[in-house]
Amino acid sequence: MTLTEIRPGVVPGRTIAGRSPWALAWARIRTDKVALASAVVVLLLLVLAAAAPLIAQWSGHGPDDQFRDIGITDQGLPVAPNGTFWFGTDRLGRDLFIRVLYGARVSLVVGVLSTGLAALLGVAVGLLAGFYGGVVDTLLSRLMDVVLSFPYLIFAIAVVSIAGPSLTATVGVIAFYSWAAIARIVRGQTLSIKEREYVEAARSLGASDARVMVVDILPNLLAPVIVLVTLLVPAAIVFESTLSYLGLGIVPPTPSWGNLLSEAQGFYRVAWWYLTFPAGTLLVATLAFNLLGDGVRDAIDPRTERLFSRRRGLLRRRARDRRSAPASGARAAASDGPVTGTDGDGPGRREPGGDGPGRREPGGDGPGRREPGGDGPGRREPGRDGPDGREPGAHDDSTGG
């Protein structure tokens, strides 16, 4: 019996099933521990924010309740964290923990709402500009340029001085600043997608412009938009904090992370918790959203390589193992250092300094990037004919040498 003999009836144990691009993305994100941890943190924040009134009721500390007897020291200073006040109290004797939770409500609502608005507007404008081209495109693109070139703080100050600081004004200002970036990406994608043959096929069937845009182009825009949106939410949260910190956003007594920081400014030398907890929560939230966004991008768009990715190390280790086996020790040693273009990776296959925090060339997605199951017959990487023409990592370029 030879190794190549095909025995009928013996099939690989893994069943080969078709999966949608989204299912594949989900499978990929499930193996990404960083993204999963971030998702847990984000979910936790969302749950805590949603449950803030319940927690307040349970603890008996309302967000605006001042505990002048136990919440303020004899010197009139905030009380340090203890069993009653987990995060300590603020200058008026209010429970900082409850206020941070309530601040999360505001920050998350502002972040999600403004990004959602921006996404709606950005997709609509970008789609129209890219699809119709010509004068429509010129006008809308210039509009995006104008918006992107506004000095945002001055604009925010101007808006607030006219409308007065409020939640609506904050959401409006942030959305106004975010939509143009989305519109630009969407416009570019639309330009490339509308030349695809399937769009032509739809036209030849007599589909209306609206149908072509909604049915044929929009689904192919979702991936880049989702990626962008997950990264814009933390930016919006920071933006809101900035505005509130400057007194242009959410007005006290409604707590937001920004105005908590602003209040804490005069007290941080005597009450470290006052600044640390709001700032720490803001940091954790932003970081979690950003890492989650990165993970989503990796899952939906496997072409890009994340900075300091866990898989990159894995990839390099595997490549080194493979090379050191047949090759000389010198080559194995060389691969310990930064891999350069002349290092046996096949000349020019990798950018010089390809190990730095840059992007790798497409096609460089080695086995570590792939779905654990490899590519069984009948199943393809979703990227194969994805909207942006990405190629699956068909080969590992480190074997090129």
């Binding site: 078709g18 999966r19 949608s20 691009p21 695809r196 043959e197 399937y198 032509e200 096929a201 739809a202 036209r203 030849s204 069937l205 007599g206 589909a207 209306s208 149908r211 049915v215 044929d216 689904p219 192919n220 979702l222 009948g378 199943r379 393809r380 979703p382 194969r384 004919d385 994805g386 909207p387």
Partner: protein, 333 residues
């Protein structure tokens, strides 16, 4: 009566320069005076090199590109540059099959909804009826109807092209324009798709305009064949007649370039090697467009454009093969 008549069709693409103050600096003569007819139930093959205007012609006929001048008459009605609404009923009768089985199916949509698209767009049937129709279509083109909910990425190239056939067939059209339907497929798969197209033609009485650059494929399916060069038809004849007795030097060269299974036969036929590249369609040569590369060119060729003429075997050449040789001295080349 002919199902389709194309009369002196011209399609020029303007070339613009400058971002703000755009001005026209020239035009690509993609299709330059093409006349064709298609009888019901026949297959007309359209061959030519890449860039000769085959696909542009197809898109003009399908109403995807506005026509610069000339006429497209379908079933006795002029459909040239019809506004969208007026064109709609004709879209049911004229369907297009595209070349790229990967690019012509939306990767984010399920196969069932892709095939149902024409029915949805033209408002035919209820959702349930459409679903059943799609199942039947899939079965008819050799796909498993249970794969209704799969994505195009889960099919092979040949299967995808079958999806394309099913979509083109959904509205029971009378004319299908096949724009290189098998060029992107393996040879073994090509035959399956070609046979499928042939069976469907017999079953539904379809008329095909079949575009390809592979001459052996075209011969297999076509009743008549038109050879295009730089936006014009240079020869149009019955398939076998064209293959046995090409008259235009370009058609001759093109035919000699096809691979033949029998090497002796190939040797006997000889290989006509053309020199130079296809000239730019932005600035096509004067007179006969083939004259700078033609082994038989005479002085007349550079001056006058030869008309497409000659009874059943139409040729646009002043000195066709088997006809009178160039008078007097040979061309300068």
């Amino acid at each position: 009566m002919n199902l389709l008549e194309v009369d002196d069709l011209v399609k020029h693409f303007p070339i613009h320069e400058g971002a703000v103050l755009r001005r026209r600096v020239g035009q690509v003569h993609a299709v330059d005076g093409v006349s064709l007819t298609l009888a019901p139930g026949e297959t007309l093959g359209l061959v030519g090199e890449t860039g000769c205007g085959k696909s542009t012609l197809a898109r003009c006929i399908a109403g995807l590109y506005p026509v610069t001048s000339g006429k497209v008459v379908f079933d006795g009605q002029d459909i040239t540059n019809l506004p969208r609404g007026a064109m709609r009923p004709f879209r049911r009768d004229i369907q297009v099959m595209f070349q790229d089985p990967y690019g012509s199916l939306n990767p984010r949509r399920r196969v069932g909804s892709i095939i149902a698209d024409p029915l949805v767009i033209h408002g035919i049937g209820t959702a349930k009826e459409r679903r059943r129709a799609v199942g039947e279509l899939m079965e008819r083109v050799g796909l498993n109807p249970e794969h209704y909910n799969r994505f195009p990425a889960e099919f092979s190239g040949g299967q995808r092209q079958r999806i394309g056939v099913a979509r083109a067939l959904a509205l029971r059209p009378r004319l299908i324009i096949c724009d290189e339907p098998v060029s992107a497929l393996d040879v073994s798969i090509q035959a399956q798709i070609l046979n499928l197209l042939k069976d469907l033609q017999d079953e539904f009485g379809l008329t095909y305009l079949f575009i390809a650059h592979d001459l052996s494929v075209v011969r297999h399916v076509s009743d008549r064949i038109a050879v295009m060069y730089l936006g014009r038809v240079v020869e149009l004849a019955e398939a076998d007649e064209l293959y046995e007795h090409p008259r235009h030097p370009y058609a001759d060269a093109l035919l000699s370039a096809t691979a033949v299974a029998d090497p002796d036969a190939a040797d006997r036929r000889g290989r006509v090697i053309l020199t130079g590249d296809v000239p730019s369609p932005i600035d096509p040569p004067s007179g006969c467009r083939f004259h700078p590369r033609c082994p038989r060119a005479g002085d007349l060729c550079a001056e006058r454009q030869p008309p497409l003429e000659g009874g059943g075997h139409l040729t646009a050449c002043h000195y066709p093969i088997g006809g009178a040789p160039p008078a007097g001295e040979r061309g300068t080349r």
